[in-house]
Symmetry: C2
Subunit: 549 residues, 2 copies
Amino acid sequence: MPSSVIDALKAHYQQLSQLTLLDLFKQNPQRAKDFTLESEGIYFDFSKNNINEQTLELLLNFAKQQNLAAKIQAMFNGEKINNTENRAVLHTALRSNKESILVDGHNVMPEIKAVRAQMAEFCRKIHSGEHLGYTGKKIATIVNIGIGGSDLGPVLICQALKPYRVAGMNIHFISSVDGYMLNDILADVDPETTLFVVASKTFTTQETMINAHSTRSWFLDKTANNTAAIAKHFIALSTNTQAVEAFGIARENMFAFWDFVGGRYSSWSAIGLSIALYIGYDNFDQFLSGARVMDEHFSQTADLRKNLPVILGLIGVWYNNFYDYHSLIISPYNTRLTRFPAYIQQLEMESNGKSVNKAGEPLDYATCPVVWGDSGINGQHAYYQLLHQGTQVVPMDIIVAASDKFSNKEHNDILWSNAIAQAEAFMTGKSYETAKAELLAQGVVQESASEIAKHKVFSGNRPSNMIILPEINPHYLGMLIALYEHKVFVQGVIWDINTFDQMGVELGKALAKKVLQDIESRQISEHDGSTVAIIQHYLNQTTQNKLKS
Amino acid sequence: MPSSVIDALKAHYQQLSQLTLLDLFKQNPQRAKDFTLESEGIYFDFSKNNINEQTLELLLNFAKQQNLAAKIQAMFNGEKINNTENRAVLHTALRSNKESILVDGHNVMPEIKAVRAQMAEFCRKIHSGEHLGYTGKKIATIVNIGIGGSDLGPVLICQALKPYRVAGMNIHFISSVDGYMLNDILADVDPETTLFVVASKTFTTQETMINAHSTRSWFLDKTANNTAAIAKHFIALSTNTQAVEAFGIARENMFAFWDFVGGRYSSWSAIGLSIALYIGYDNFDQFLSGARVMDEHFSQTADLRKNLPVILGLIGVWYNNFYDYHSLIISPYNTRLTRFPAYIQQLEMESNGKSVNKAGEPLDYATCPVVWGDSGINGQHAYYQLLHQGTQVVPMDIIVAASDKFSNKEHNDILWSNAIAQAEAFMTGKSYETAKAELLAQGVVQESASEIAKHKVFSGNRPSNMIILPEINPHYLGMLIALYEHKVFVQGVIWDINTFDQMGVELGKALAKKVLQDIESRQISEHDGSTVAIIQHYLNQTTQNKLKS
């Protein structure tokens, strides 16, 4: 990393960290305006952060020295920026309307558009009743079988857009290999009216494939072994034609995607078919076009100082690498975004949770923080205690929709007043003197007030971003997700890491195969003493307890 | 804090941190045995931690100097250990069979047992059909209206124990003030067969009360304004008789609890009534007695070196205060425990997210870490990348049930092999040499293998605990939750903080009232410039968009 820029940022940190957020507001009466961006309908207030104009200037310098602008173009143009896997990174192409994007001289847009058309046509058939279940009934339930990127996106997006669903359509998700989850969901669905969507690029993902096969067995059991019916009730989101056909899925019901789409960036691809089946293809198309608006903002229209993903990303770097705040909380104030933190958690941590740079050299600085969170209003009654009065500072992204036609005004006003007030409280805090005066005003006697007030002090100076969407609809949800995708990209460029591989998931997978072999054969191979003892404990327990086989 | 103990721990850390977990296993072939506890059916392997016998000895010394044993007795005996609120802390009494526990010379056990009997009797009436809905139909759906401690416990426990539910019974939870959540759930329930359980100690919690009142309006709307029917369909978990009766709830359908029960410790109290209605009172009683077994283990039978909550708590302190690992992940490998991390997140962070000691003096050491997590097997496909290869170390608690009669053996074997293999992978890691040799064996050419292997290195030496329950049933779930309750207590004693208040939630609540007033009156009072601008933005948006009123 360019050391002069870093040194300048370090020196600036030494100065700026002497000032509180309230000091910064006092210094600049225009601060709220200076540090709010309004673009494409999104209102992004980042004024309650420990930054000033100089901070941004230095951070933008840093970004320039890391060639951010050129790297953005490289991604959008299909260059092989996923260097360890020698792949292009083109989730943006999935929502593009361009005629041509070349990868190795090959135009990928025609095949992307062909799959979109295939998805639209399949949705039309399902929703019109042209494609019926094996007994002639209309499909009324989708069961998405997938894990990780094939699960979190569809879960979030279907939950967030439930009010837009096709009338009468239900959706369930089987992700964990835990047989209870499978049995619990299958107990609730009707084989005659359910479509199972098996989402696995390679058709070999361990969890997904055992769930798919167990579901297939259940289905055959329920249909008196009607193997022909499988073609009407199972579809595949995969590229492995042979395995898909062997499973009994018709070739025309296989929806392809490509190696330039990572799992955590795949909701825009055929992986989104469950979403499109649930909310209708037109709404899915709105979701794509919302993301496209953000793509254009990020890569074409906005200069770096006014670029939402750039600013959001740089603020994160500032806290992570200079303030040493190593966790980030995402707090949506809207029930429909309850799974948004889980989605962003994967997006950020799987993308940027790396310890070597693109060249493979070990880093001497921190990369991705722990990203976590849940519904904000619920968090207030749970973990916000630590955020206000704990010993570590956790920067927060508050996400809220201004209007919600599926709520009620009185409820929405309360929800909003809480979102706003929490950001204010984190920043302003409360002094010992104020706390004591309040206690005295409540009639607490002097001596008690002096003691209890010590526990009612809030240090304040805790930062937050406020991201306001006009409403939660397919368009703005697409924009919001794309905003974070590009934020992650920006940080990956700053940290000089490959954001698009995930080598860290391999070791556990390999060892799991070995342990499974030990369990199945009841022969324990070589491990540390603890692992051996635990395998033995499991074998002892399962001998004592008869499980369904 | 006693500085000699801390100095000894610091010196020990300097030595021990030179050794990896694998080194420690090499040093002591009996390590797995030495650092595994089996008690009351729980198998707790803590050998994959950066500790040795000396670490434990020093940490136990620390606990002794903090008078842990005496403080445990003080809690169980009803002393007013919640010093800032001058209250006893007696969630343990809620599951006790003792004849007498005195608070201020008053025996609380008779009233605790009376509420238990009232709960059991109410469950009998609902389940037998003696208490019917207003049109004479049996109650088939419970809707729990509560937030924080009145929500997270019932949500977790009902989800975990769904296979034990009373036949035909459903349950829903309304927690957020977001009107969408309310409308979405009310759209799915039948007023004739639904019982609404309003859980708010004071009957003034803002979110809960507006949800309760909106539900009441919906109910009256559906029943042609049948106010008498309210008594059959609404019950209250509260101590505010006057407000409860004004709402229209019959006095006999009000279930009380006491100021010695904190919200996050209240599932064992009348707050558990939704649970008992869902799983039946006998199962709820098993849940209580499971916790009682852990209470006895913690306070009576186990010496500190063999005491599950003590060891679990001390290991957390070791990482938090000596290794500077400031986040903890909870990874249940069981779908039914998916909400367990959220429950423990509240329990730990609301209890111990404090910055002053019991005397109100500012601390110069870290207290509670950020606690987070989700289903472990799903995490493997999401955020485990960072846990394996990121720049920060996150200690993990893995929780798994040995046997699961509601699963299938093949699925359970795979689930288990993953849980075991992840712990192994975190500890062992993978060297550059091994990674390169594997690539060469796969046929990758020398030059590429040398480069790519750099990205496939796992540092290893990442710690985890393994907590194995025989199965997930009411008994063991009660034990598991009590285990963490006591772990939190142990850490509070070490950190010398009041674990049982939550002053940090007050400021946001107070400011929210002010902001709400601004919104309702459309007159913005004094705030920082950012807060003013955001309130104005909201007012502008809601003027443009007509919401349901």
